[in-house]
């Protein structure tokens, strides 16, 4: 299951979705942004996506994971819009008959999702300023908006 959502990530629903009586192991990963990044205090995040491509890319990653590991079920969820610090912005859940496969697949999925799914984070700091996060791109003063 692939989901882009404006709402709080519902972990109970996700765990219900991946549960399977043939699966011995379920692994859930939740990614949360920490309060402090560098020396600025992040107060709020907003996420935006190239939605149709993000959905397609997430579905491709699920397919690839299913080809690589014997998975029963797989759920990928990313939040869009405002996300408070401490709330999960992303969830990956997989179930498998084998716990090694479940750990490896979940770990691979979050790595590749963060590298390839077209979603962008905007950090809003306690200074009142905000900027988009583009790893590897130097921020110019014009990128920080009041």
């Amino acid at each position: 299951m692939i989901e882009l959502t404006q709402s709080t990530i519902d972990t109970s629903k996700i765990l219900k979705e991946v549960a399977s009586s043939d699966a011995g192991a379920t692994v859930l990963f939740l990614g949360t942004t920490r309060r402090t990044t560098d020396h600025l205090v992040t107060e709020l995040l907003t996420y935006t996506a190239y939605e149709p491509m993000a959905r397609e890319q997430m579905a491709r990653l699920e397919d690839q994971a299913r080809r690589r590991w014997p998975l029963q079920n797989c759920v990928l969820v990313h939040r869009l819009g405002e996300v408070a610090i401490g709330e999960a912005s992303v969830a990956v859940a997989v179930s498998s008959g084998h716990r090694r496969a479940a750990f490896e697949a979940a770990s691979w999925l979050i790595d590749i999702l963060k590298e390839t799914v077209p979603v962008w984070k905007r950090e809003h700091w306690n200074t009142g300023q905000a900027a988009w996060v583009h790893p590897g791109v130097e921020r110019s003063s014009g990128d920080v908006t009041p």
């Binding site: 491509m53 912005s89 979603v119 988009w132 791109v137």
Partner: protein
């Protein structure tokens, strides 16, 4: 041919629009689009040099050919998760 390019995040913010159109001579590929964008929108150049491009919701290569009907997007380094 006219290629419309979707913009996101800092690229969208820099230009103030979510889509721009550039004129390219046929045949054209991603490398040529990248060059043209940097020339026509110098403020976008640093970000464009680090961006991927997508054609019809899939990541494209530098030599992927462009066509007028394709949905083209500039994908600056992603920061989901």
């Amino acid at each position: 041919m006219k290629i419309r390019v979707k913009l996101f995040a800092a690229a969208q913010e820099t230009i103030g629009r979510d889509e721009i159109t550039v004129e390219l001579e046929e045949p054209a590929n991603i490398a040529q689009l990248r060059l043209r964008l940097s020339q026509e929108y110098p403020k976008l150049a640093p970000l464009v040099s680090k961006s991927m491009f997508a054609i019809d919701n899939q990541y494209a290569q530098e030599d992927s050919p462009l066509s007028e009907n394709a949905e083209v997007a500039c994908i600056p380094p992603v920061s989901g998760g």
